[in-house]
Every structure is written in structure tokens, then in C-alpha cells.
């Protein structure tokens, strides 16, 4: 799957978590813009992991602050 396809998939997965309907750009941050708390993060990450059959460990999550970084990381992880 290329980056654009991964982007499309994650965009649909994030919808139910994007309660305020924030416009998602690559620079959109999970903590400040989307206001995800730790439980939301866990559920959202679990959805992505199940969809792409990958692990995003907490160590990797710590490096991911915005949407673009997430798409990059997932694109790389699912290609491995």
C-alpha cells in the first residue's frame, strides 16, 4: 500500500475519534488539535494496528505527534 492509500484508510479510521470535526492536515497534532486523551489514543492505535496488522509500540507512538508522522510511520511499518 502506498502513502496515499494508507492516508485514505487512516482518514476513515480517525473519523469516529474526531469528535469536534477538526480538519485533518499533516500538521494536525493528536494532543493539542484533536485533544486525544490516553484512552482515545489506545483505542485509535488499536484500530490502526488491527487494520494494517502491525504493532505501533508506545516507544514509536512517543515519536508521533501529528497526523503526517502517523501516516509516514504506518506506511513504513506495513511495508516491512
Amino acid at each position: 500500500m502506498d502513502r496515499a492509500e494508507v492516508d485514505t484508510k487512516i482518514r476513515s479510521l480517525i473519523e469516529p475519534f474526531n469528535k469536534k470535526g477538526v480538519a485533518i492536515k499533516d500538521e494536525t497534532t493528536f494532543q493539542n488539535d484533536l485533544e486525544f486523551d490516553s484512552l482515545t489514543v489506545m483505542d485509535f492505535v488499536a484500530e490502526i494496528e488491527d487494520e494494517f496488522d502491525i504493532i505501533i509500540s508506545m516507544n514509536q507512538q512517543a515519536e508521533i505527534e501529528n497526523y503526517g508522522q502517523l501516516v509516514d510511520a504506518v506506511t513504513k511499518l506495513q511495508a516491512d
Binding site: 494532543q31 488499536a46 502491525i54 504493532i55 512517543a62
Partner: protein
């Protein structure tokens, strides 16, 4: 994206002095000031002026029933235990002033480790200075860079800190969700070291893990299994060995972590294991090596207490009666509880929010009852909880008294 610890604001620049490193605590300071400004009695600054028994103390000047001390088996004033401590204090002095691997191993340390091996019927026991250090030390030492730790999202802080210190890849799964755990184990790259970390009883809601199924899944994927049994020792299982014993999986578990600061009634932590190479941990585990060992009086009281807990079946039965009576009584009064049925000696009462939880806590303490106020981020799902932990020494009458204090306070605050 990490665990639910409150995140810092952008640190503010202070003119001429650079950044104030404390500005990251401003949110917590504001929350606390907001709570106390209404005249609320501080739930996190209680002083016990006198302790009368395992279940009674003078707190902030009032005669108080203790229902939040984890003193499950009521060993803190056991005459044999107290006497053992006094004797050790007289014979060995106040402290060891040294590490276990240098001058800090006395006869008493070997004896308490032998008591643990006998209690659990395991080959090895290693005693740490606290339960926190036991998790910190064992987890960080056995799971290092490149290894994978799969753990429950509601794990205790000492487990998370052990994971962080060891730099393993940390993969959490939804609380008590067997399928979520299996999916994650399945995805770990072949050849990587795997450690599954579970707790017997989760201390926030007092619920028990489905260890029979979870341990079987962990073994299927070749993972080592560590179970923290801090809140079940002495109470759950035919011999008080914990949920692992009750679930019949104690022989499949690689490490059990426990504490002396709950049922045993003093302070300290431990790990028991049958791993043939376990003794090497004494040389490679930094939180074991680089700290002073427990004082002789503490290991002597722990040793005596553990040996008495082996014969504690009557006390265990009474503690179960207390737990069931309190659970039923609170449910009948209309309180919302953390579990449908009592699963341990912890009964969590769910509060609508922090304000009302704090008001309820205050009404209880003024009525002569101490419970723990637990609040986010330490709680699951950002809940505010009044956590009650029962003691085998609570009498039937005391449980009745506890319920009437709860009823009065609940009506006063308007929760029931």
C-alpha cells in the same frame, strides 16, 4: 501519545532567569487549589496521629475506621510479628547501612527469602526494599532493548516505570481483553524476546484478571509471564498465593511479584521464580544492587507474618465475608460499584466527578471513615473513585457501621 500522565504546558520563560522547570506542574497546582479553595478538607494530606489497631486510628483528630489501608490480613499489630521486630531491633540494630550484595545481607534477609520460597513452593526468592523497586528492577532487567513487553493498559505505575527503564518495546492492550492481547503477541517479530505482564487483582476497581486464559495464550506464543499479585497475597487462592493459584496456572507463570506492604503488614517487595538462572538477578538488577537493604526489624516482621499467613484460612474466610457484605450493602444503598460481584478485598465506589468525589470523601472522614480518593490520571477511564480495602480484622459490626456512615454521607452529598 503516551500513557495518561498530564502533559506539560510549554514552559514559560522567566525574564533574566531562564525557564522555571516547575511550570510544567501548573495544571496540577491549579486543580488542587481549585479543589481546596472551597474549604474542602485535603484528601491527600491526612495525618494519623495515633494508630489504635489495623482497623482504627485517630486521623486529623477524629476516631476513624480505616477502610483504605490495604492491610488485608491485619498483621500490623499481630503480637508475634511485633515481638519478632523488637527482638531483631535489639539483636541486629536499626539498619544495615548497605546493599544486599555488599554488607546488607543479614541472617534475617535469608530467612525471609526462605519463608517466601516455602509460602509459594518456588525455588528462588529475591527481596527488594519496596514493591515498586521489585517491579522496576525485575522488568527493566529482564526486558531490554529489542525485547517486547505486552501488558494490560491498566497496569500499576511501577510496571510502566520498569518498562521505561529497560527500554524494551512496550505494547499495551485493552484491560483484561484476551483477544487484544493475543493479536499483539501474534504480530511480534519472530525471534524477539517476549514478556507478558499481568496483575492478579487490579487495584483501582478491585477486579481480577482472567489468568487461566491469558497465561495459556502467552505460553502459546512463547512469552515469559510475570504476574503482580500485590493485592491478592495471603487472601486469594487456597494457600493465599494469589489469583495464579486460584486460576490453577501458578506452575506456568515465570515470575510472581509481591509486596510486604499489604497483607504482610510492613514494607518491602519481592519476586519469586523457578527460573534456573534466577540467582544472577542479584548481580545484574540495578534497583536491587544500588540501594540499601531493608532494616533487620522489617525483614524479621515480614518473615514471621508470611509464616503466619500460611495458616490464615480462617482469616481469609472472614475477609471474604466482609467483602461480600460491604459490596452487597453499598449496592443496596444505590452506590455504583467498580465490579458487579465482589472479586477481591477492594470495593471501588464510582463517583460522578472529582468535585462530588472529594465532597463525599470529606463527608466520610468527618463521619469517622477513611477511604482512598483515587482520581485521574491514576484511574481507568478518567473515573473518580472512593476505593475501599477491607481487612480481616474488621468485625461484622464495623462493616455495619461503615455502611451507615456511607449512607449518611451519600445522602448529604446527594449521590444516593
Amino acid at each position: 501519545m503516551s500513557e495518561g500522565i498530564s502533559q506539560p504546558d510549554q514552559p514559560q520563560a522567566i525574564e533574566g532567569e531562564g525557564k522555571d522547570l516547575f511550570s510544567k506542574f501548573d495544571d496540577v497546582i491549579a486543580l488542587r487549589e481549585g479543589l481546596l479553595s472551597s474549604g474542602q478538607e485535603d484528601p491527600f494530606n491526612l495525618v494519623m496521629e495515633k494508630v489504635l489497631s489495623p482497623t482504627r486510628a485517630i486521623c486529623n483528630g477524629r476516631d476513624t475506621i480505616l477502610l483504605g489501608t490495604y492491610n488485608y490480613m491485619g498483621m500490623t499489630f499481630d503480637p508475634d510479628v511485633v515481638e519478632a521486630g523488637k527482638q531483631a531491633l535489639a539483636d541486629f540494630g536499626t539498619g544495615t547501612t548497605g546493599s544486599r550484595v555488599l554488607n546488607g545481607t543479614y541472617q534475617g534477609h535469608k530467612e525471609v527469602e526462605q519463608a517466601l520460597m516455602d509460602f509459594y513452593e518456588m525455588d528462588h526468592a529475591m527481596v527488594f526494599s519496596t514493591g515498586y523497586q521489585a517491579n522496576l528492577g525485575i522488568i527493566s532487567t529482564i526486558a531490554g532493548k529489542g525485547d517486547y513487553i505486552v501488558l494490560d493498559i491498566d497496569s500499576h505505575a511501577s510496571i510502566w516505570d520498569g518498562c521505561a527503564l529497560g527500554q524494551a518495546e512496550v505494547v499495551p492492550f485493552k484491560h483484561n481483553d484476551i483477544e487484544a492481547m493475543e493479536k499483539r503477541l501474534k504480530r511480534i517479530p519472530e525471534g524477539a524476546g517476549k514478556l507478558v505482564i499481568l496483575e492478579g487483582v487490579y487495584s483501582m476497581l478491585g477486579d481480577v484478571a482472567p489468568l487461566k486464559e491469558m497465561v495459556a495464550v502467552a505460553k502459546k506464543y512463547g512469552a515469559m509471564v510475570l504476574v503482580d499479585e500485590a493485592h491478592s497475597m495471603g487472601f486469594i487462592g487456597d494457600n493465599g498465593r494469589g489469583v495464579v493459584e486460584d486460576a490453577g496456572v501458578i506452575d506456568d507463570v515465570d515470575f510472581i511479584i509481591g509486596t510486604f506492604s499489604k497483607s504482610v503488614g510492613t514494607v518491602g517487595g519481592f519476586c519469586v521464580s523457578n527460573h534456573p538462572k534466577f540467582e544472577i538477578m542479584r548481580l545484574v538488577c540495578r534497583p536491587y544492587v544500588f540501594t540499601a537493604s531493608l532494616p533487620p526489624s522489617v525483614v524479621a516482621t515480614a518473615c514471621t507474618s508470611i509464616r503466619k499467613l500460611m495458616h490464615g484460612s480462617n482469616k481469609r474466610a472472614h475477609l471474604w465475608e466482609n467483602s461480600k457484605a460491604l459490596h452487597k450493602g453499598l449496592k443496596d444503598l444505590g452506590f455504583k460499584l467498580g465490579t458487579e460481584e465482589p472479586q477481591s478485598a477492594i470495593i471501588a465506589v464510582i463517583m460522578p466527578d472529582l468535585q462530588q468525589g472529594a465532597a463525599m470523601w470529606e463527608a466520610l472522614i468527618q463521619g469517622g471513615l477513611y477511604v482512598n480518593l483515587a482520581r485521574p490520571p491514576a484511574t481507568p477511564a478518567n473515573m473518580t473513585l472512593l476505593r475501599c480495602s477491607l481487612c480481616a480484622e474488621h468485625s461484622e459490626e464495623e462493616v455495619g457501621e461503615i455502611l451507615s456512615i456511607f449512607e449518611k454521607a451519600g445522602k448529604q452529598v446527594g449521590i444516593i
